[in-house]
């Protein structure tokens, strides 16, 4: 009992000292808490459904950021990984009868392969060429899928997939927790030494080479990691919708990913996730005005970018937090002195 109390007190101190001191962390904490207790508030199947799909897209947007935001390899065909993950896990589920908890990771492994296949030619192509070229990959895959209707179901896609669970709340927790874990892993990756190298590759690839780093290996790693996470998102999506169709590969899907990420602010991981959680429900909840949904979406994106070209979340963070000029620790914007080194903030 005493031990439990000790850990409880430790947790409280941790939350007080590390989470509550910064509004951004507080918001993230509250948000995670909200996600976890949401089924207690409402069990409306429609809302639960939207939250599940939103969390799947959040994984997708974060995985784009991992590749394009961090290493600067602008991928405008990110739907490829999503679609490959979806189709691969669907095929494994339908033909090899592997249950979802096996087919999704295996599908993601196939998406890693896709990452390698796309990544190798992309090593030679740079900047805007890369962005314009990557558009092509999902389209080519759609062609292949249509050419092999016996295996892929052609235009109709593969349907009749197993779900993880038929329980509404159970499904919700599976997806939300997967999302939280995967996004945390991605954030950790970008926060690690590997993340620093990814950052540096975006800034100046030649200088990274001259520092003795095998940039080819790291760029491929970025493609594979990104493919893996996007593949999981694809697999989850296919199993949740119970269908894997060509719509997962469409141009609009690739566009959406990029819009989410840049809207939130690239090279942050949390930016794209937040953007998905803002934009996607917004898109869904305007159902009282269905014909203007996309229009509202586009106008919102345009207006936000006009005033915050660096991304919404980045902008908000700059407003509510301030960096200490001496020790570089972040502080609430209203503080007069740094919370650690007591230097004056301006």
């Amino acid at each position: 009992m005493g031990l439990l109390g000790f850990y409880f007190r430790k947790l409280i101190t941790l939350i007080k000292g590390e989470v509550l001191v910064l509004p951004s962390r507080t918001i993230v904490g509250l948000f995670v808490l909200f996600l976890l207790i949401m089924p207690l508030i409402t069990q409306d199947p429609y809302i639960i459904r939207i939250m599940i799909i939103t969390s799947i897209f959040a994984i997708l947007a974060a995985s784009w950021d991992l590749l394009s935001g961090f290493t600067g390899q602008m991928n405008f065909g990110h739907a490829l990984f999503f679609g490959v993950g979806a189709y691969a896990s669907a095929l494994l589920n339908l033909h090899a009868h592997i249950p979802p908890w096996g087919s999704v990771p295996l599908g993601a492994v196939v998406a890693i392969l896709a990452g390698l296949i796309v990544g190798i030619p992309c090593l030679r192509i740079k900047h805007i060429y890369l962005a314009l070229t990557t558009f092509a990959f999902p389209i080519i895959l759609i062609g292949i899928i249509n050419a092999l209707p016996d295996y892929t179901g052609g235009d109709l896609g593969l349907s009749g997939l197993q779900r993880f669970t038929n329980s509404l709340v159970g499904g919700y927790y599976i997806h939300i927790i997967t999302m939280l874990v995967l996004c945390f892993v991605m954030w950790k990756i970008t926060d690690s030494n590997t993340g620093i190298i990814f950052h540096a590759i975006r800034e100046d690839e030649l200088a990274v080479k001259a520092s003795g780093i095998n940039t080819t290996r790291y760029k491929l790693l970025a493609f594979c990691l990104s493919g893996f996470f996007a593949g999981i998102a694809g697999g989850l999506y296919a199993h949740y919708m119970r269908i894997a169709g060509p719509s997962t590969l469409e141009v609009s899907m690739s566009f959406n990913v990029v819009i989410w990420a840049i809207f939130g602010g690239i090279a942050t991981i949390y930016g794209p996730i937040a953007a998905v959680f803002i934009l996607n429900p917004l898109l869904e909840f305007v159902r009282f005005w269905p014909e203007y949904r996309m229009l509202i979406f586009a106008v919102v994106v345009l207006l936000i970018l006009l005033y915050m070209p660096e991304g919404l979340i980045t902008w908000v963070r700059e407003k509510i937090e301030i960096q200490c000029p001496r020790c570089k620790i972040r502080n609430v914007a209203i503080r007069k002195n740094c919370r650690v080194c007591t230097a004056e903030l301006d």
Binding site: A136, I140, G143, I266, L295
Partner: protein, 287 residues
């Protein structure tokens, strides 16, 4: 024979679009995803004026081109120019712009497929294939416009300034060229080209609010394949991809859906050999 006609027409259309797209990219570094959306808007304006209002088709085409150009300039002034130095934000802004165009046309004209009458009716037969006069006319107009563009770029003072700015913004400034005004003018020309493409292609195509995505992908493939900023490259690449598409449709009639993927595969294969495109200039490591 059909291959040649379809190939020529698709190729010409792609060439017009791609040249407009690479012009504005070259001068102002703007990747205008909404480029083909302007093409769609032009198509709809023509439809509205000629079919709904019963205006003369040629007149409506002219109005459409002017209207689209104005629309482009307004969008540039108020939406693109303020964030021009954030390349990514610009790209997203143009995507959003394209979506807005798509949704607005969807609201006004619904998602039904629409078409405009041929300007001239009739056809002749060569080797058992129908060749519509309209197809010939379209092709002829495209050629004339390509010539005009070539003349504008190569022989006029404005063209000289545009090409100079595209090559070296700073030195162009030193020659007394007002770089930001040129960007505006180039954007106007670029969008006007998209409008013209819409105008000439509309009698042959069916209109739908989603018609901008397919040519967008191919147009970008043309630009990359030909080498960014190379007009000659865009021209050649457009016909290569145009004919590839026609050939695929001809060889595998059941596999018409493959035409896009095959064309794109060709682009990727070429890029593997020449990463800078057919006529592009290789990146050389700075000295």
């Amino acid at each position: 024979m059909n291959i040649i006609i379809t190939g020529l027409i698709t190729g010409s259309m792609l060439a017009l679009l791609a040249i407009g797209f690479s012009l504005i990219f070259g001068v102002a570094r703007i990747v205008n995803i909404a480029h083909t959306a302007f093409y769609m808007v032009a198509g709809y304006i023509i439809y509205y004026l000629s079919i709904r209002l019963g205006l003369n088709v040629i007149l409506s085409m002219l109005i459409a081109v002017v209207a689209v150009t104005l629309l482009g300039l307004l969008a540039y002034k108020f939406l693109i120019d303020p964030i021009r130095e954030h390349e990514l934000a610009v790209m997203i802004a143009t995507i959003a712009l394209a979506l807005i165009f798509q949704e607005v046309t969807l609201q006004i004209f619904t998602g039904d497929y629409l078409s405009v009458y041929f300007l001239i009716k009739g056809y002749f037969i060569i080797g058992g294939n129908k060749v519509f006069y309209q197809q010939l006319l379209t092709f002829g107009v495209v050629l004339v416009i390509l010539l005009v563009i070539w003349f504008l770029l190569m022989k006029t003072r404005l063209g000289l300034a545009i090409r100079s700015t595209a090559e070296d913004r700073e030195v162009a400034n030193l020659m007394g060229m007002n770089e930001s005004r040129l960007a505006m003018i180039t954007l106007g020309i670029s969008v006007a080209l998209a409008g013209v493409t819409g105008a000439v292609i509309v009698p042959l195509a069916v209109l739908s609010p989603y018609m901008w995505t397919e040519p967008l992908i191919l147009m970008m493939a043309v630009v990359v394949l030909g080498g960014l900023g190379s007009i000659k490259g865009s021209f050649v690449a457009a016909y290569i991809l145009g004919f590839t598409e026609a050939l695929v449709t001809f060889l595998i009639p059941a596999g018409a859906f493959l035409k896009g993927p095959v064309a794109l595969s060709i682009m990727i294969l070429v890029l593997l050999i020449r990463p800078e495109g057919l006529f592009g200039i290789a990146f050389e490591e700075e000295r």
